[in-house]
Symmetry: C2
């Protein structure tokens, strides 16, 4: 019954991205241009799934191997792109990746509003419930394994956009794949944590857009390991308990 009501609500309320949007909002970092790109990409996707040729005019890219019809659809894989760069071909760029995190946030806010309206328990994080809601709202390209996989990349983007951007440019130039870039995102995050007393949970919870995401296990472990190293070289008692800073 709670699920049914969710269904009802998810049919309205959840607008698609606006089809047209002013181009001048482009460089604003909020994903302004992105909305347009996302819409284009989505149309491509839709055309592919339906299996007809497009009935509205558009710039297209590849249309080969369109023959299928009911074949398994996946999102295009990510590639390392510079800030503002749109991926060409059957690829998605990193601005799009980060845009997905913003979309999840919007879905969470909607779920929270519904919960409050009904006096039910209100999630503070992006939970299974939110992923389910997103899927029902038609955002089938959002899923938990993907979002969890790249959380720390998004975290770096939120916490230090300059460093994040520099890293993207460097890895693009070197022609690295997404997995390698993703791995590289850990290091600057650990450095940020070091400066803030190693409390990665506090770092996440303090940031308005990051606070809704669970700290990834591996990032937590890296921070802990690095803290132990730092502490070992600072303290004389190697076996003693690690004492957190108190400033």
């Amino acid at each position: 019954d709670a699920t049914n009501a969710l269904d009802a609500l998810s049919q309205e309320g959840l607008s698609e991205e606006p089809v047209q949007q002013e181009k001048e909002a482009a460089g604003s970092g909020g994903g302004g241009t992105w909305e347009i790109v996302a819409t284009e990409k989505k149309k491509q996707r839709r055309r592919k799934v339906v299996g007809k040729s497009g009935d509205d005019e558009e710039e297209e890219e590849e249309e080969e191997e369109d023959g299928g019809g009911g074949e398994r659809q996946r999102e295009h894989p990510f590639i390392v792109t510079e800030p503002g760069e749109v991926a060409r071909g059957k690829k998605n760029g990193l601005d799009y990746l980060f845009h997905l995190y913003e979309q999840c946030r919007d879905f969470l806010i909607q779920v929270q509003n519904i919960s409050k309206e009904r006096g039910e328990k209100c999630p503070t994080k992006v939970t299974n419930q939110v992923f389910r809601y997103a899927k029902k709202a038609g955002a089938s390209y959002i899923n938990k394994p993907k979002m969890r996989h790249y959380v720390h990349c998004y975290a770096l983007h939120c916490l230090d956009e300059e460093v994040s951007n520099t890293l993207r440019r460097a890895f693009k130039e070197r022609g690295e794949n997404v997995g390698t870039w993703r791995q590289a995102c850990y290091k600057p995050l650990v450095a940020i944590a070091a400066l803030q007393g190693w409390d990665i949970d506090a770092i996440f919870n303090t940031h308005p857009r990051l606070s809704i995401w669970y700290v990834p296990t591996k990032l937590r472990q890296l921070c802990h390991a690095e803290r132990s190293n730092a502490s070992a070289s600072t303290s004389s008692a190697a076996a003693g308990p690690i004492v957190g800073p108190s400033f």
Copy 2:
């Protein structure tokens, strides 16, 4: 492995209540006297379980039906007691009930310290993990169904001890049973919520000792229903959405 390590830690660290404690701390509300009472009760319990007669001197109450040995042991049922009153016979009083909540808080703090030490996810609430830890630490009289059952009673005790105390005295005088008293605890809580914009989650999370407990479903529902009532008699549009206060 995480479980094994927990075992190791739970063997040390977890002190029993101090056996002796100054009597002058009695009326302080922190459970000062309670420690002594709890210890006495625990000795009774231990003697019963072991099935021998006591090998240390004590004032005892009933010792009948001691014959068993491996019979199923349960905590004595609660009765409505006034503040400061110790239950006589095979009963437990409400100061003891509230004391259990404080104990859970101590166990949570220990679990949190261990988690932090290890760089693991750190619970902010009394979770299954904490109940498991309490059990391993020997506090077998603490269990989840019991603690959840009386959370709102403890909440009233935390939020308005005067009202809570008055309620206890009134219900004791009337000879009401625990279940009736428990039910009666909801109403003043809803009244408190009304004064604070109906946000029972905020009320819990704001209070230092209450913030570690999940808001009980029924209390949440009562607050929501009552808010709807209040709103219906205030607003002219009966079917409209309920707008939260913004002060």
